[in-house]
Symmetry: C2
Subunit: 368 residues, 2 copies
Amino acid sequence: MWNHGGNIYSAARLSGYDGDKILDFSANINPLGLPRSARETIVNNLDKVVNYPEPGNPMLVSAIASYLGLNKEHIICGNGATEIIYLTIRAVNPHKALILAPSFSEYSRALNIINCDIEYFSLREETGFTLDTGGLLSTLPNGYQMLILCNPNNPTGTIINGFDMKRILEKCRKLGIYMLVDEAFMDFVEEQHKFSLSKSIAEYQNLVVVRAFTKFFGFPGLRLGYGLVGSNRLKLIMENIKEPWSVNILAEKAGVAALGDREYIGRTKEWLDKEREYLYESLKDIKGLKPFRSHTNFILVKILHSSLDAGILQRLMIDRGIFIRNAENFYGLNNRFIRIAVKNRQANKCFLQALQEIMQSEEHFNES
Amino acid sequence: MWNHGGNIYSAARLSGYDGDKILDFSANINPLGLPRSARETIVNNLDKVVNYPEPGNPMLVSAIASYLGLNKEHIICGNGATEIIYLTIRAVNPHKALILAPSFSEYSRALNIINCDIEYFSLREETGFTLDTGGLLSTLPNGYQMLILCNPNNPTGTIINGFDMKRILEKCRKLGIYMLVDEAFMDFVEEQHKFSLSKSIAEYQNLVVVRAFTKFFGFPGLRLGYGLVGSNRLKLIMENIKEPWSVNILAEKAGVAALGDREYIGRTKEWLDKEREYLYESLKDIKGLKPFRSHTNFILVKILHSSLDAGILQRLMIDRGIFIRNAENFYGLNNRFIRIAVKNRQANKCFLQALQEIMQSEEHFNES
């Protein structure tokens, strides 16, 4: 039933390793961990948990507004990006929606809950999972009330440029289609202003952008995300159906601290630049694997050996204390795909060595 | 729009007092504050926030099961009791519901969101807001699919005994009515086993009990609550529409620690026993006020002076740095009612003195 990365608890039970000892390549979390600024803020604000969070999270909203250079009125905070995704879908309440695939499975789960018809527009392996924008544009006039896509996309790591995003957004507006763009991994992207729709939020009544603290600031356990909503009316509907106090105080305070932590943000960009390249090139050198170019902090990999599939490889890696994401349950992928988070050099080396050993012994098997 | 206690932020802005300096009598939170055990657990587990919470929160579920002496299969954790209330209402999806009034306003808000018809069964002031069980039983056969009540009740502080609760529950079962019982304040009740329906959960397919960590363990800012669900089928529906990772890791760990903290639980009971009595008796001695007997950690008070209403009194108290709950927006109450949390002796004394001064000068005004 559970179809996400990051469940180190079941990995621990399967492997016999202690949860803390497992190298988790299955969840796409910044390996620099919780920023020290956020940690200190949490410790200094522990006494504040005797109070309810402030309705509407105005401190955090202000911090996000200045981080993105946006007007506060478009911002709504959530218990993880997940709450914003579910909230948007319930507020728009579409009867028919289009999702780019493969992608994060919670979009279809949230749509299924409100009994929405779902269709998929597939990114194709032959083109490295990049978007056929023309194809998408001509698919849009088909009775959809909502288009959902993730940019950069999970699990493919591919990205759609700002120009194409605008074309899609304009077409959606013309057709009366709400566009939900999940930018949970956008902070990892170099020159994100060329790709993100955040800055366009005031211009498009049909646009909702979802962003997360989870991945970039390394605290999925705290739960914090936010949405940018173009339409005041839609935002009001969202507020009217939103549960009160959904963002906990410690996440709120940690979020404010993290957004102001330029040192952490800088170190993250340095790390990713170097390590993604290292991991990608190393994966390319392993016979029997095909990594796809990624614009963010994870890499989709295809297994070429016919004797091995993603489930077996995941299991063989767990036995070595390393947890990878079997990507076969992403709509549009199959049991040849795994997804690998980029981690720090030491972890990446461990991972690559284990993988190499497995692939080499597989090589013999394939030859025999 | 915001109609709850605990918004010390707006009180701070209104009064000019620093938020930390305000004595908050508006939210019903244990004044002993965050248990030391929970605080230490949070600090020791800060590194864990780099992981997602475990799906289904099995550690916390186990701790709750042994705290209540229940089977784990009935337990579901939530981002505050609020998530469980909303989740139950969405899962049951009633067309017509009955709510005991006055009570917590989120029941009607959640029902309104799903377009449910709402009717109220009123607790009457003349009988000290105690329930007319016979009257309720004869009202039930009226097409309701759901009955919601809070026990002990917020804001009246009244309680329904276990025998009457069972009669209502049996009648609901016969009529095919789901019964949602909010026991958010039950941990404060002396001999709670005589009142709580927790132990009956396995026997009643139509019962959902909601409980909170927020109030008793003094951490509303962390967000943690849980539900006990009698029907496996209903619990499955709830799990199917529940957002993943809704409970943050720190709340989960703090919850486990708090449930095992017998010293804190003991001190809380000692404090409440003494201070509720002190506060009630002192309020009774103030001319122009009528407090109602409470079984939990807050007291409903009626203002008898015609020259004063709840809004004015709240404002006069804020000017002295004390924040009380204006209870006029509870369905069935009016601008004569305020709700007061029981706090520690020092705070209670401050509060009583300020209140006394205001009431005395009001006395002159009434006489003049």
